[in-house]
Amino acid sequence: MDYVKLINCMRCGMCLPHCPTYKETFLETASPRGRVALVRKFQEGELVDTEQFLEYVSLCLDCQACASACPCGVNAGELVAEFRCEKKSGQGLSIIENAILRQLVPHPDRLEAATAPLRLYQLSGLQKLVRSLGLMKMFPAALGRMESLLPTLPDAPLRKTIDEVTPAQGTEKGTVGFFLGCVMSLIFSEASLATVELLSSLGYKVVTPKDQKCCGAPNMLGHDFEGVKQAARFNTDLFESAAYDFIVTDCGGCGAELKKYGHHLDGEEKATAFSSKVRDISEILASESAALKEKLKPLNLKVTYHDPCHIAHCQGIRSQPRALINLIPGIDFRELPEADACCGSAGTYNIEKPEMSDRVLARKLANVEKTGADYLVTGNPGCLLQLKKAMAEQLPQVKVIHVTELLQMSMNAKG
């Protein structure tokens, strides 16, 4: 790890009020400033990685709200992740991690096959039975949480059913490569279909290469940097970027990762060119707002927007999704207090650190309730999973959808 990145922290504390775990605990050890100090003191040999040490470090959501707030360009979340990656590379992957991160995640066919039983489980009514009998209580808590997060899956993964090429409507403006995230494909296929429809209606030919693999973000979360690099190599080769004007994704997590490929592969030209073409869907759509506006019909809805960490903090995209929502005639947009605070999903954090995740989520819910909105819009599948479940249980009047779904609704509305 680069020591200068650690001593760049001038301990000003500007990051503290933005850190979800600090806001919950008021503990310096649970703050970005504290985390940088911990990692620094580890590097300097003053602290060792005791269980307590690792517990403090692993309480970080890696939401990077601290990075947005830091005047010195320090990214505490990333430094903590890097520290954990380095520790991991010393140890090697466990058998289970190897199975998941290397054998399963990078192979879409296997991943889809693995989720097939889930589909069956839901379709057969078994899920209802299990839930109503509370059978999950008999299983380890983490498994129970995973099960409860599971929304109804589409009949088939979108990657299987989507057309490889969707032609532009009207005059063709350009070609975009669509990077279809795993979770979007497996679970939120409706939103990704909306993405394709919007792009094509604005005059873009949309190409969705079927061989694409996971972006590598799960490997990053699992602190398996080698796996990340493998993903980066594969996808940059597949999306020979010369063929596309942009590479678009509607998954905030994928977008953040894809934009870092150049960095991951140490500035390799091909990877850098790839990364420079990556756009979150809201960036492309916002740049086409005049054309888009003409297609939108009124929706009389009260809407609020949750900034996914991977979109606001990692990619610096905040105004575009809001501008898009406000394009829709009739929308009553209400700004969400602490909109860019993590929802507690944070990859697998909600399964690994359920107690803190719930506290962070509760704060989000209270803020959503304050807005009085009936639609909560966001742009990342992790947030969608977490918030859909939470709303269904606690604020059932609020529906949670992707930005593209809201725009599609308006495009297809009557009137």
Binding site: V4, I7, N8, M10, R11, C12, G13, M14, L16, P17, F26, L27, E28, T29, G34, A37, L38, K41, E46, L47, T50, Q52, F53, Y56, P71, C72, G73
Partner: protein, 457 residues
Amino acid sequence: MEKTFIKALSDIVGESYTLTDKESLACYGYDSTPELESKPGVVVLPGNLEEISRIMALAHDAGVRVTPRGSGTNLSGGSISFDAGVILQTSRMNRILEIDEENLTATVETGVVTSALHREVEAKGLFYPPDPGSMNISTMGGNVAENSGGLRGLKYGVTDDYVMGLKTVLANGELLKTGGKVVKDVAGYNLNQLLVSSEGTLGIFGEITVKLIPKPKTKKTMLVHFPQLEMAALTVSHIIAARIIPATLEFLDRVTIKCVEDYAHVGLPLDVDAVLLIEVDGHPAQVEEDAEGIRQICERHNCSFFQTAASADEALKLATARRVALSALARVKPTTILEDATVPRSCIAPMVKLIQETAKKYNLTIGTFGHAGDGNLHPTCLTDERDQDEIKRAHAAFGEIFDATIAMGGTITGEHGVGVAKKKYLPKLVGESGIKVMRGIKGAFDPKGILNPGKIF
């Protein structure tokens, strides 16, 4: 630290709020002051006034030293425990207890974050002006203990001007109530004012009552460039001589301008000596008149550019250069030493010149920005803690700068406090008799010397 003492502490605040693990102690060994660090023996986070009282009574009996801490953002080492004592962090005490719209006061617990109070009172059309650069995280207790100022100090004053009442826990755990909601109060010594800027050495604030004022109706923001430093400085003096008191009158020097431009690309020219950010607020008619007066004065002093913001968005844009000044400087090098030498307003030009010459003499990069209207400058040295030679030169340079400040009739710290960082300069400023009186006061409040020892003098 003795086990029985720690056990007694955790009986008061609970185990989860009594921290003794190595990691916690390491993380409570610093605040925002560069180069200073020392681990406490234990950290406690009381949840209310009564718990603070019980902690102090316990510490007093045991003769253990206690250092209060808000968010640890002070720049003078004030919230560091240098003798492995107790750090008492107040952040859990974050309730706004009352906003009294009839008496125009707010009463808060000590750990309330400054900007949280701003939000609450402004929602009611009221105004609490002190706005230190750290207001999004600094606590009200910390603000009172350091007498913090901010960008609006010129017109509205500093924390001191707003503190009306305090509930303070004394060294032995007793509660001292001073002041209250009355606007006039001459009963006995003015203990309120004495406690403000006491840096945690006289007592620990539990509750704070502050004065509120009506929120100004409108404001106007202006950005002005000056090719010559002297002209910018004269402009500042002449605006005030013309009986115009802007809410904000901020200054950036050449080095800062260059760093800001490199970092934020806001379109500042690199060939000007100074940029002023000026904000006037109040009644719309008055604001118009003041802004026009300021424009004329700036033009008379050969400004090369004058812009008035036409909208709130534009105002925000104009203010960007000042807002990002510290970030822009801090990114240049790993270590940032931010000082707050303050001189009479009329001495701004000579002071900035002197800072620039001193920087040259010691081969350092020092950017200066700050509250020109208050004469409060932030010479900011960009250095690297690993370069011991440069750090030495930085200290020598600041030594000269402080000497010059005192010679000009100024002060070594306008808002960051003495703490330990400025301790050695204080006798030069207040003299032996000053130190003697302060020691006497300290002895009267805290005869055993257990409250934040080693700070100020």
